[in-house]
Symmetry: C2
Subunit: 277 residues, 2 copies
Amino acid sequence: MTTLHSFDQALRLEAAGGDRPDTWLGHTSPDYWNMVGPFGGTTAATALRAILLHPALLGEPVALTVNYAAALAEGPFSVVAKPARTNRSTQHWTVELSQAGASGDTPEVVMTATAVTAARRETWSQNDTPMPAVTLADASGRLRFSTSAWTHRYDMRPVRGVIPQVWDGSGSDSLTQLWVRDDPPRSLDFPALAAMSDVFYPRVWLRRATRVPAGTVSITTYFHADSAQLAQCGEGFLLGQARAQAFRNGFFDQTAQLWSEAGVLLATSTQIVYYKE
Amino acid sequence: MTTLHSFDQALRLEAAGGDRPDTWLGHTSPDYWNMVGPFGGTTAATALRAILLHPALLGEPVALTVNYAAALAEGPFSVVAKPARTNRSTQHWTVELSQAGASGDTPEVVMTATAVTAARRETWSQNDTPMPAVTLADASGRLRFSTSAWTHRYDMRPVRGVIPQVWDGSGSDSLTQLWVRDDPPRSLDFPALAAMSDVFYPRVWLRRATRVPAGTVSITTYFHADSAQLAQCGEGFLLGQARAQAFRNGFFDQTAQLWSEAGVLLATSTQIVYYKE
């Protein structure tokens, strides 16, 4: 008997079937619960998985933008993933995730997404962002920053920018570097990479050494690797790096990079995050 | 008699009316023509303008993602901008731009977009990306790199990373810094800022000093300023900076920042670009 990894369990989607060929049905997972809804990384991965399951899929993911319109409630949801345009080597997707509203009847949109998939060809290539010269041995131990279930699903080992131990307003920069992999380990694939782009705690906490309410509003991830390169990473750690460029009147941005342990830049990501105060 | 600025002319949208309250009708502009379609910045600005015109609009733009599904043909198009979800202080939008297909009848999707608008409140704020210490006087003269009409609609003055004068494969980095404003000058607003996020020529040309076919597939821009801050910029120059993080098998990314002349970080942007060879 094989037990499904908790990440695969969280991403389970069943075809709605019938006259809804683009619709998939899923259910939130307690294993990846955050404070008021599921971990956004799981939601992004779910959007991507609906695309990857689609019979009309062309190629592999290149870009994914996920907009968090509202917190998902615990329970079932539906995802509609449609190929909006299919070209010779690229395909454009629109995705919507809906859930029955508080009233119980009319489904409400809780997430919108767009994605681009493509059949990639070998070309001149160049990594212009070398991995910072840090090793797993440089990490200060496993990050434990929350009682939220999802944080236990990742083995995160910060090298720099650990979550503040004292909330005294003393922060001076927003840079975190950490090693990360699924816990238990799991072979890397596109949904996992989409989710890991969102594991960094809000930069505003680090920058201010002040814990204020904050939540991702929109995240965009570009995939620089193909499935063969992801498979080569196996269950290894990735090095993740995140920092903010600007905090202004309720929103800040957060850019991120994810490298394989061998130094291949697998994904780059940016998100805009709501914060209070 | 007031003459409409060519940018406003390019962005003209008329309500389709009737039973299509979310639909707007526009027409490509010869003034912003690129090689095989309109300048992508104008298309992104058009998506944003359809949102800004919508009677249900809440707040101001915070995030915009535009996916270029196909080159627009010269001629009319329709834009559908829908509020997918309206919360207390944020609103999520989906946008689709369509054009009659080659067959002439069924409209085909040529662009998809999502956006977030929000009613912003004053909070603790911090610019963590200071403007590079360069002045307009450091610029080497106006950039002229193309016969494409749109490049004449911007007064671009590079400080660093001018387009290669010799295509000899000698490139070593992908960083460009340039001053930019509309030509003729025009007061800064959100559509202009969205368009200016896309004025940087493909990083692959600079990095390789080799001119290969390249085109933006998807661009995401975050707006860190509100309309009052944009108005303060008036018709002044912005400093723009762009660089790539990775080039891999047909796609590279391009991150960008735009500061006001006074050093306020107005917008940050990232795009994924297709390239050949």
